[in-house]
């Protein structure tokens, strides 16, 4: 069954809305700010912070998600009646972790992972509702699970979204493991030194092509394929050969009848992970009859940070925007380009998308890989 996208939503460090997101990506100059807390460090670490949206939610992540979902649902023209049997797939790593990090207050709450229930109640989404927490690939899995729900007839419409917000413990522990770059996120620079966390939420309305036609909605993008795999190698580090990531990319590429024009990479500035990912995608493209140099590699985390459970959904929203505008934004914060990347890397300005298809990859702790491919709607 063909699954299409009929609505997009986002809240990021660029502000509310997919318009602000696209503008910020094209400008390609955003740098992080000091985080609101020391996180156990001598100086405040960096954060690509999202603005308060004022949306009601259980906690900060819930509020960001509520804004993104409201935008996507409005764009798709869905009524509460349409949503009564719709599905909801939410990717989040830590949920409303702010509720559990109120320092010195007796009000520490354990209700960190009620974001899905809160969204379902707020928007009247009465069908299957799952929270997926596969670490940093949670968003990619949320979109993939949404497609599975539609493909197996468990829902005609699924709101797939992802969100994560600032967490003292996430930043502190990533620092303890040496995974944070003290300057900014610069995934394509040879001198990259780690990731920088970001806040945000993104949402997609997925529906069967038949449902979109019945409702008279225009599709933004069509899901061409998605592949899943697990490294089963290490709780935090990727398996160095990238064999399983390559396998999931191959499965996603099998749904396309061309080499994708661009790849929105997971690439977060952690050198080992970046290298494994680019090699795996490059090899999968080669195996599909193309060459890595035919694909424009793009790493949005340079200007919006690593948004954890939201990242994979952001990747898919950005893929839809790339298809809509026919442009790939420039990669930011690159002084000395990484010579090991087999993909083409646009640096100086937006580049026309050579073919109307985009690959999105998501990887996470535990070696949880998901790769999706999108093509332009006919």
């Amino acid at each position: 069954m063909t699954v299409v996208v009929t609505g997009l939503g986002a809240v990021s460090c660029f502000g509310s809305g997919t318009g602000a997101l696209w503008e910020g990506l094209l400008r390609a100059d955003r740098r992080p700010e000091p985080a609101p807390d020391l996180c156990g460090l001598p100086a405040r670490p960096h954060l690509y912070a999202a603005p308060d949206t004022g949306a009601p939610g259980t906690g900060r992540t819930g509020a960001l998600l509520a804004s993104a979902v409201a935008e996507a649902v409005a764009e798709a023209g869905l009524t509460r009646r349409d949503l009564a049997d719709a599905g909801l797939a939410v990717g989040t790593s830590l949920g409303d972790i702010d509720l559990a990090e109120r320092s010195g207050e007796p009000g520490r709450s354990l209700a960190t992972h009620r974001v899905t229930a809160s969204l379902a109640a707020r928007f009247g989404v009465g069908g299957p509702g799952q929270t997926l927490s596969t670490a940093c690939s949670a968003g990619a899995y949320a979109v993939a699970w949404g497609a599975e729900l539609i493909g197996t007839g468990q829902a005609d419409v699924v709101v797939a979204c992802g969100g994560d917000a600032f967490s003292r413990v996430a930043v502190g522990t990533l620092q303890r493991f040496g995974l944070l770059d003290g300057e900014c996120c610069r995934p394509f620079d040879t001198h990259r030194a780690g990731m920088v966390t970001g806040e945000g939420a993104a949402a997609l309305v997925l529906e069967s092509e038949e449902s979109a036609r019945r409702r008279g909605r225009t599709a933004h993008a069509v899901l061409a394929g998605h592949g899943w795999s697990c490294d089963a190698h290490h709780p935090m580090a990727p398996e160095p050969s990238g064999e399983q990531l390559r396998r999931s990319a191959a499965r996603a590429l099998a749904g396309l009848d061309e080499v994708p024009g661009a790849a929105v990479l997971h690439r977060a500035g952690v050198a080992v992970n970046d290298t494994v990912e680019a090699a795996a995608i490059g090899e999968a493209v080669t195996a599909a009859g193309g060459s890595g140099g035919d694909v424009l590699g793009y790493a949005p985390k340079a200007v919006m940070g690593h948004t954890a459970g939201a990242a994979g959904v952001f990747g898919c929203v950005i893929a839809a925007l790339v298809l809509r505008h026919g442009l790939v934004p420039p990669n930011a914060h690159v002084t000395d380009p990484d010579p090991q990347c087999p993909l083409a890397v646009p640096l100086d300005g937006p580049v026309p998308l050579p073919r109307p298809s985009v690959l999105v990859s998501g990887t996470g702790f535990g070696g949880n890989n998901a790769v999706l491919t999108w093509r332009a709607a006919a």
Partner: protein, 335 residues
């Protein structure tokens, strides 16, 4: 396609008055003397239950090769990181970053128990972690069934693990893990699992019922959800078999009201479809083991040999509900 439960495993802390500070779980008995020191309790429980369900010893080598790429893990949990997170948050605000041991860092990610099970058993099709409170355990079964049907794996361990926020039931909740091995009949090869199938999983679904102003769900939404649950397919291959369904609803105390409403609505919907419920007045069973509760009930139902069709529903106070329908395994001539 027929999906069979080919193995089950559980470890669960039971409320036993007077046990004081005696630990209920002995990791060495399940996991050997080494290798688990830096794993969180929920991870240790999950490995114990997962190994039992898969019929493997803790030191058996993980699956490799093509079989491992057709073998997945899906884990439900709601408190996997709670204790670690609480400790790290306190450490960061008092001692700073250097108070944290790198060895405990993986414990702050919700997927770590499931990822460790995937590493231990060699599951490369996928390892997904679901985190809705209460219902995540049965959602793992729904996820596994869906993934088997879409061909993403041939065998999936659907599991759940939680360490309750307080020791010895102090929060009204207890520690546990449970795992069921689900296999697509005729497709699964090479992956462990017990020998004889225990039951067939014939249907699964999740719904959300928003609590209304007085706490009760909208009657029309409740009836619509109940109708869908009652319509979950059974083993229709058995023509003429008596269709008396065991109905089990499991919910935490705070969701009892909603659970009773769901039980009554599903009983009515089953009657409308010509089915009867055995034990129509069955009380709602207490969900005392966090997100593992529903899976523990599923294991109990699967173990009751020849019990006939059963419908198990997990209900959370937020309004999530997940239903699983199982049946006896019927002969291969019916596949």
């Amino acid at each position: 396609m027929t999906v069979l439960i080919t193995g089950v495993g559980t470890v669960a802390e039971e409320p036993l008055p007077g046990t004081g500070d005696v630990p209920w779980f002995d990791p060495a008995a399940h996991l050997g003397r080494r290798g688990w020191k830096y794993l969180t309790p929920a991870t240790r429980y999950l490995l114990a239950a997962g190994n039992e369900a898969l019929g493997r010893r803790h030191d058996d080598p993980p699956l490799t090769g093509a079989g491992s790429e057709r073998f997945g893990v899906v884990t439900g949990t709601q408190y996997a990181i709670d204790r670690v997170h609480r400790r790290m948050n306190a450490t960061l605000t008092t001692e700073g970053v250097h108070g944290i041991s790198p060895a405990e860092v993986p414990g702050f990610s919700m997927n770590t128990p499931g990822s460790q099970l995937a590493i231990t058993a060699g599951a490369r099709a996928f390892s997904v972690t679901l985190t809705n409170p209460v219902t995540a355990g049965l959602e793992a079964v729904q996820f596994a069934l869906t993934a088997l049907r879409t061909g993403r794996a041939d065998t999936v361990v659907a599991a759940a693990a939680d360490q309750a926020p307080e020791d010895h039931g102090g929060s009204g909740e207890y520690d546990a893990a449970a795992a069921v091995v689900l296999s697509a009949r005729g497709r699964a090869t090479g992956t462990a699992g017990a020998g004889r199938p225990l039951a067939a999983v014939t249907g699964a679904l999740s719904r959300f019922l928003a609590p209304g102003p007085a706490g009760a769900p909208d009657p029309a939404a409740l009836a619509a959800s109940a109708a869908r649950i009652a319509a979950l397919p059974g083993a229709t291959e058995r023509p003429g078999a008596a269709d008396a369904v065991r109905l089990v609803v499991v919910a935490p105390a705070a969701a009892t009201h909603l659970a009773l409403a769901v039980r009554d609505a599903v009983t009515e919907a089953l009657a409308d479809g010509g089915s009867t419920v055995r034990d129509a007045d069955a009380t709602v069973r207490p969900a005392r083991h966090c997100a593992v509760s529903g899976l523990l009930e599923l294991v109990a139902l699967a173990r009751s040999d020849g019990g006939g069709p059963a419908l198990l529903i997990s209900v959370s106070e937020s309004g999530h509900l997940t239903a699983i329908r199982i049946d006896d395994v019927v002969g291969p001539e019916f596949t």
